[in-house]
C-alpha cells in the first residue's frame, strides 16, 4: 500500500513504514498512522519480515515528566496555505504549486528524484512563473499583513536551480519590492536577474484561467507601456509566506506566554528571546519571519540566556565519557576492516554494495569486510567496535558518506574499540559516487571499488596521532563597546566569566549614541544608559576606553592581547575573543550633501528631531532619498536598515507636524518582517512613496535659494519637481575602515565588502574560521538594534560554550619537522600565516620548529619545502602517493 508522502508535499507516495527523509535525525524507520494494522488490525507483514524484530505493535504513548529550570520554544513556522485565498486556484489548477511543492520538485530526494515535472502530464515545464508575496503584505482576510522576509531570495534560488535543471527554461518573477536585504543578497539578486530568459516583472497579477487541454495557466498583469497583458505559463509557483506554527494558541496557553497580533511570540525589543513568562525563551522564526542565520544565532542566544539562569548547575547532569585504554598497534602489520554502507538505499540503489565489500576482501592488508544498512546507526557503530576488537583490526575503513558529517562519530567508534582514532579512513561512495552517478550503475560500482582501493592504500600509511588537551583561560575579550559588545559582555559575565571590554572611544555606547528611538518606540538613550550602567557596575566586566590593540598572540583558549589606552599598556590573557566593532554611516558626496545644510543624513535628522530642532520638525516639505552610497557598483550591497529608518523618521515627522509633506524616493522599500506594518502606516499617514530607478536617479538642485528635488514619476510618466525645505539622505552603512587591520591582527577574514566574514554564512553566523574568535553586530553586516541583540547573545552563547570547558582539543593532524633534512631556508616560516613555524636554535644550527597548537593543518609549508623536511601528519606524502598509485590501479 502506498500513501501520499508528507515530506514530499503529498506529490509522490511512500509506504506506511518509512524513513521520514534521507537526512532525518535520527535516521530511523517508523510507522505512521496510515498503517493498515494500526487502522484496521490488518496486514502486519512488516513484523514477520523484520529480521531484527524491530516492529512492535504493542508500543503505546507514554507520558514523561521532566523537571527543568528553563524552556526554549523553537516551534518554527508553517508555510502559508494559499487555499485560504481562492483566487490563486491552488488545489484547483493542477499546475499551480506552492514554493514548498516546487522546492521538493527541485530536490534530488524529491517526488521525481530531482526532475521538475508538472502534475497534469508529468512533462517538464519550459515556462515557469513565480508570484511573490502570496499570503504576505496584505491586510485582506486570510492573509498576513507582515512581509515574510525570505521569499524574495528563496525565489531567486529556485530560479537559479530551475535554470540549472533546464538551461532553456524561461523564468518570470512577478513581484512587488525585491527585498534583498541580507548579507550578499543584492549580488545574488543581480546574478539571478542576469541569467538568460529570466524576467523580473513588477506587477500585481491575477490567475485568469487554466487551459483544459494543455493544463497551462494564464496570468494577467499590468505593464507600464502596454497596459494590461495576459500570458500563458506551463507552471505557476506561488511564493508563499511564513505563517505562525500550527496550534500556536495551544502552545501559548500551555506555556502561558503572550503572542503578538500576528501570532508569533510577543517580544521585548531589547530582548527578543524573552517571553512574557520568566524562564521561557524562544528562538528561531517564532520571533517572527526569519532566515537561517538568524535562526541559528538566536538558538545560541536563547541558550546563553538559559545559561545565565542555570549557570550554577552547569555540568551537574553530565557524566564524563570513559574510553578503553588505547592499544599500541604501531608495530603490527596493517589489519584493515572495511565496512560498506548502504545508507538505506542512498548508496545501494546505485552501487553494488555487496560486490564492493567482496572486492575489498581481495585488497592487500584487508582482514575483514562487510555491508551495513546504516553504518552511522547506533547498533552499526557497536558492531564496528565489536568486530574491530574481535578480529584484532588496526585500521578501519568506512565506505559511506562524506567525512565532513560523520568522521567525528566514526573516530569515536574507533576509540571505543581501543585503537587510535586516526586509524580511521572514510571512503566517500555516496556524494562522490552514488549521488552523482545515478544513471550509470555499473560504472558507479567500479568507481566505488576504486575509491575503496585508494582508501585501503592510504590506510596502510596511517599513523596513530595524539590530540592535545589545551587548558582554557576562562576570560573573554570583547572588542567594541556598542550595544553588541556590551550585550555579549553582560551575558558572558552573567555566566561567571571575567570579561575585558575594549572601546576605542572615550566612552561606551558606539553607534547607538546617535540613535534616539526605534520604529517600535523604544527609547534608545534610556536603554543605552541602563546598559552602560550595568556594564560598569558588573564586577566581572573590566572596561578599557581609548583602547588601541597593539597585538594579539596565542591561540584558542590561550590568547594574549596587548592594549594601549593612551596612558599605559596592558597585557590581557583570555580564552576567546568577540569582535563587535560596529559600522559607520556613509558621508554622502551626492545630492549636495555638505554643500547645503538643508541636506542631511537620516542620523542627522534623527538627532535634530530628538533635540527638538523646530526647523526640522516643522518643515513643510521633507524629501528622503533612499539607497545613497550603496546598491551601486562601488558598494554592491543593501544597507538593510535605511528603509526602516526612513519610515521611522517619516512617521516621526508626521507625528510632530501632520500638515507637513514627506516624500520618500526609493528603489525597493525593504521593510521586511513586521516592519511592513509601519510602512503601511506611513502610507496611510500620507507619506508619499515614489519609486525611482538608478538610471533615472533623483536630482537635488538649488533654485533661487530654495532646494528642489526632481524625480521621474513612474505612475504619471512625467518629471516631478518638489520644492523641499529639507532633503534627508538614507546613507549607506559602511564597514569600519580599521576592519582590515583588526582582521589581520586577529587572523580572521573579511567579506568582499569589508565586513567580517563568518565561518559559514548560514550555519556558523557568529564564528570565524579562526577558532576561539567570534563576531556580532553591525561589524558582520548592517542590522537593527533588536537583530544586534539577538546576534550578540548568540556570540556570547558560542563563546561560553567554549569557556565552559577546562580544555580545548587541538587536532593531531599538524606539521612536524625532520631536523636532519631541514636546511633552515625559512620558506615554511614564510608560508605559514598563523606563525606556527619558527626557526629555532638547535645546537649551533637553525632548524624549523612547529608549534602544534597553532598549526591549522593546511600543509602549505609542505609544498614549499625543498627538502621534504616538514610534513603534515595524516596528510603525508607517503599517504598521498599511496592513494595516487592505487587510483591508477596499482
Amino acid at each position: 500500500m502506498q500513501y501520499p508522502d508528507e515530506f514530499n508535499q503529498d506529490i509522490s507516495n511512500n509506504k506506511a513504514v518509512h524513513v521520514y527523509f534521507a537526512q532525518a535525525v535520527p535516521l530511523v524507520t517508523y510507522i505512521d498512522d496510515s498503517c493498515l494494522y494500526l487502522k484496521e488490525k490488518k496486514c502486519g507483514i512488516c513484523e514477520s519480515v523484520c529480521k531484527a524484530g524491530a516492529i512492535d505493535f504493542t508500543q503505546a504513548e507514554e507520558k514523561v515528566d521532566v523537571n527543568v529550570g528553563a524552556v526554549i520554544l523553537a516551534p518554527g513556522i508553517e508555510p502559508f496555505d494559499p487555499k485560504a485565498l481562492a483566487e490563486y486556484k491552488y488545489g484547483e489548477y493542477a499546475n499551480v504549486v506552492t514554493s514548498m511543492d516546487y522546492e521538493r520538485l527541485l530536490c534530488a530526494t524529491g517526488p521525481y528524484q530531482g526532475e521538475v515535472l508538472r502534475a497534469s502530464d508529468l512533462h517538464h515545464p519550459k515556462k515557469v512563473a513565480w508570484i511573490q508575496c502570496v499570503g504576505s503584505r496584505s491586510v485582506r482576510e486570510g492573509a498576513n499583513s507582515y512581509c515574510s522576509a525570505v521569499c524574495c531570495t528563496y525565489t531567486q534560488k529556485q530560479v537559479i536551480l530551475t535554470k540549472e535543471h533546464d538551461a532553456d527554461a524561461a523564468c518570470t518573477v512577478f513581484h512587488n519590492d525585491i527585498r534583498s536585504y541580507g548579507k550578499d543578497f543584492e549580488r545574488y539578486y543581480s546574478k539571478t536577474a542576469d541569467l538568460d530568459d529570466v524576467r523580473f516583472f513588477r506587477s500585481y497579477v491575477s490567475i485568469v484561467r487554466e487551459d483544459p487541454e494543455t493544463g497551462n495557466v494564464t496570468i494577467r498583469y499590468s505593464t507600464p507601456d502596454e497596459g494590461v497583458k495576459e500570458e500563458e505559463f506551463d507552471m505557476v509557483v506561488l511564493s508563499v509566506g511564513l505563517a505562525p506554527p500550527e496550534d500556536v494558541k495551544g502552545l501559548s496557553a500551555k506555556f502561558d506566554i503572550e503572542l503578538n497580533k500576528h501570532g508569533f511570540n510577543k517580544a521585548t525589543p531589547t530582548n527578543p528571546m524573552e517571553t512574557s513568562r520568566k524562564g521561557v525563551f524562544v528562538s528561531g522564526a517564532f520571533q517572527g519571519p526569519t532566515d537561517i542565520p538568524e535562526s541559528v544565532f538566536t538558538a545560541s542566544a536563547a541558550g546563553s540566556q538559559v545559561g545565565e539562569l542555570l549557570n550554577y548547575r552547569r555540568g551537574k547532569l553530565s557524566t564524563e565519557r570513559r574510553y578503553p585504554l588505547e592499544k599500541d598497534v604501531s608495530e603490527e602489520l596493517p589489519k584493515i576492516g572495511v565496512f560498506v554502507c548502504h545508507c538505506g538505499a542512498n548508496i545501494s540503489r546505485i552501487v553494488g554494495v555487496q560486490s564492493v565489500a567482496e572486492y575489498a576482501m581481495t585488497l592487500p592488508g584487508v582482514e575483514y569486510a562487510q555491508e551495513q544498512l546504516f553504518s552511522c546507526a547506533t547498533n552499526s557503530a557497536q558492531e564496528i567496535t565489536d568486530i574491530t576488537k574481535e578480529k584484532g583490526l588496526n585500521r578501519v575503513i568506512i565506505a559511506a558518506c562524506s567525512p565532513r558529517t560523520l568522521e567525528k562519530l566514526f573516530r569515536d567508534t574507533l576509540r571505543e574499540a581501543g585503537i587510535n582514532q586516526y586509524y580511521l579512513e572514510m571512503a566517500n561512495i555516496r556524494e562522490h559516487c552514488s549521488w552523482v552517478h545515478a544513471k550509470e550503475k555499473e560504472n558507479a560500482t567500479q568507481k566505488a571499488k576504486d575509491i575503496v582501493r585508494m582508501a585501503v592504500a592510504r590506510a596502510h600509511h596511517l599513523e596513530p596521532l595524539q590530540e592535545f588537551d589545551l587548558p582554557v583561560n576562562k576570560a573573554a575579550l570583547v572588542v567594541g563597546g556598542g550595544i553588541a559588545g556590551m550585550t555579549s559582555s553582560l551575558s558572558i559575565a552573567d555566566q561567571g566569566h571575567e570579561v575585558y571590554l575594549l572601546e576605542k572611544e572615550d566612552d561606551l555606547g558606539g553607534m547607538a549614541r546617535n540613535l534616539h528611538y526605534t520604529i517600535e518606540g523604544l527609547d534608545v538613550q534610556e536603554y543605552l544608559a541602563g546598559l552602560v550602567k550595568r556594564v560598569y557596575q558588573h564586577p566581572l566586566i573590566h572596561v578599557t576606553t581609548n583602547a588601541t590593540i597593539e597585538g594579539v598572540y596565542g591561540y584558542v583558549g590561550n590568547f594574549e592581547t596587548h592594549v594601549f589606552n593612551g596612558k599605559y599598556k596592558k597585557q590581557i590573557k583570555h580564552g576567546v575573543a568577540i569582535l563587535a566593532t560596529g559600522a559607520v554611516e556613509y558621508k554622502p558626496t551626492e545630492y549636495m550633501y555638505g554643500e547645503d545644510e538643508r541636506v542631511m543624513t537620516q542620523l542627522e535628522l534623527e538627532g535634530k528631531i530628538a533635540s527638538g530642532d523646530e526647523t526640522a520638525t516643522s518643515a513643510a516639505t521633507t524629501v528622503m532619498i533612499q539607497c545613497v552610497g550603496c546598491r551601486n557598483e562601488e558598494r554592491d550591497y543593501c544597507s538593510r536598515i535605511c528603509c526602516g529608518q526612513a519610515v521611522k523618521n517619516a512617521l516621526k515627522l508626521k507625528e510632530k507636524n501632520p500638515e507637513g509633506d514627506v516624500y520618500v524616493l526609493f528603489r525597493d522599500m525593504r521593510t521586511y518582517g513586521f516592519k511592513e506594518d509601519f510602512y503601511r502606516m506611513a502610507s496611510e499617514n500620507e507619506v508619499k512613496f515614489i519609486r525611482y530607478t538608478p538610471e533615472s536617479a533623483p536630482e537635488v538642485k538649488e533654485m533661487g535659494g530654495a532646494l528642489q528635488v526632481q524625480v521621474d514619476d513612474p505612475v504619471m510618466g512625467n518629471k516631478l519637481a518638489i520644492d523641499a525645505d529639507q532633503v534627508v539622505l538614507s546613507a549607506a552603512v559602511l564597514p569600519r575602515s580599521d576592519n582590515k587591520a583588526l582582521a589581520q591582527t586577529f587572523q580572521v577574514s573579511l567579506s568582499p565588502d569589508n565586513f567580517y566574514k563568518e565561518a559559514h554564512v548560514k550555519l556558523r553566523p557568529v564564528e570565524f574560521g579562526t577558532d576561539g574568535v567570534f563576531l556580532c553586530g553591525a561589524a558582520h553586516y548592517p542590522k537593527y538594534i533588536t537583530e544586534t541583540i539577538n546576534q550578540s547573545y548568540g556570540a556570547a552563547g558560542r563563546a561560553v560554550a567554549l569557556l565552559a570547558n577546562d580544555t580545548v582539543i587541538a587536532s593531531g593532524s599538524v606539521c612536524t619537522v625532520d631536523e636532519d633534512k631541514c636546511i633552515a631556508c625559512g620558506e615554511c616560516v614564510r608560508a605559514c600565516t598563523y606563525g606556527a613555524v619558527e626557526l629555532k636554535e638547535v645546537g649551533s644550527l637553525k632548524k624549523a620548529g612547529v608549534n602544534p597548537v597553532i598549526c591549522k593543518g593546511d600543509g602549505l609549508c609542505n609544498c614549499v619545502c625543498p627538502t621534504g623536511a616538514i610534513s603534515l601528519k595524516h596528510f603525508t606524502d607517503e599517504e598521498f602517493m599511496g592513494q595516487i598509485d592505487a587510483a591508477m590501479g596499482d
Binding site: 600565516t833 609544498c863 603534515l872
Partner: protein, 215 residues
C-alpha cells in the same frame, strides 16, 4: 583525493599521477580571495599548476591534461559541468603519450627528469616567481607572457634539459647524436647542456667509447 587545502597539492603529486599513467589531473579549490582562513593556499595551487603546465609542455606532455578550477560548495552544477568538460577534453586528447607521440619509456624518462628538479623548482618558485596578483586573469596573463617565457627558459628549461640528459646517461654512455635523437633536441642544444653538465662535473667524455657518460 581529499586535501585540507589546495595549497597542499604538491608538484610531485601531479607528476606522480602522470608517471602512473593518468590521462588527466584535476585540482579543485575554493574561489580565489575567498579563503575561510587566512592562508589563501589556492594561490599557491594556482602558481604550482601554472608552472606544472609549463613543465609538462617542456617534457612533451599536453598541458591541457592538467586543470585547476575554483568552485564553491554551493556550485554543485558548475562542478559537474567542469568535470564533464574536462573529462571530454581528456578523452579527446586520448591516452597519455599517444597523441604526444611519446613511447612509455620516453614518458617515464621525461617525467623522471621533471621529478628530479622538483626540489629545485620549490627553491626558485618563491625566489623567481614571487607573484602577488589577485585574479586568475592576471596570473594567466603573466604565465602566458614573454617575460615569464624567458624566465622559465632561463631558470627551468636548462635544468630540465640537463636533468633529461643525466637521466639518459644513467642508462649508459651515449653520443651527442644518439641523445639528440632520443630527446627530440637538436645536436647543438645537446652539446650546450653537455658542456654545462661537464663544467658542473656531472658528465665526462669517454674517449674509448667516443661517448658521453656520467662522471
Amino acid at each position: 583525493m581529499r586535501v585540507m587545502c589546495t595549497g597542499r597539492v604538491d608538484l610531485s603529486f601531479v607528476l606522480r599521477a602522470f608517471e602512473r599513467g593518468a590521462d588527466g589531473v584535476f585540482i579543485g579549490g575554493c574561489h580565489l580571495g575567498e579563503c575561510n582562513y587566512t592562508t589563501h593556499g589556492n594561490y599557491y595551487a594556482l602558481r604550482m599548476a601554472s608552472l606544472a603546465k609549463h613543465i609538462l609542455a617542456s617534457i612533451g606532455i599536453d598541458p591541457g591534461r592538467l586543470s585547476i578550477e575554483f568552485i564553491s560548495g554551493g556550485e554543485g552544477n558548475r562542478f559537474a559541468e567542469l568535470m564533464n568538460s574536462f573529462s571530454e577534453e581528456v578523452t579527446e586528447l586520448g591516452p597519455l603519450g599517444e597523441k604526444e607521440g611519446l613511447s612509455k619509456d620516453q614518458l617515464a624518462a621525461n617525467i623522471a627528469a621533471a621529478n628530479r628538479i622538483v626540489p629545485y623548482m620549490k627553491l626558485i618558485e618563491r625566489e623567481r616567481f614571487k607573484l602577488a596578483y589577485e585574479t586568475r586573469a592576471e596570473y594567466e596573463t603573466y604565465f602566458g607572457g614573454d617575460e615569464f617565457k624567458a624566465l622559465f627558459e632561463e631558470a627551468v628549461g636548462e635544468k630540465l634539459s640537463t636533468s633529461r640528459i643525466i637521466g639518459l646517461l644513467e642508462g649508459g654512455p651515449r653520443t651527442t647524436a644518439e641523445m639528440a635523437d632520443m630527446l627530440g633536441m637538436s645536436p647543438s642544444e645537446v652539446a650546450k647542456y653537455i658542456r654545462l653538465s661537464s663544467s658542473h662535473g656531472l658528465v665526462r667524455f669517454d674517449e674509448g667509447l667516443k661517448s658521453y657518460a656520467l662522471a
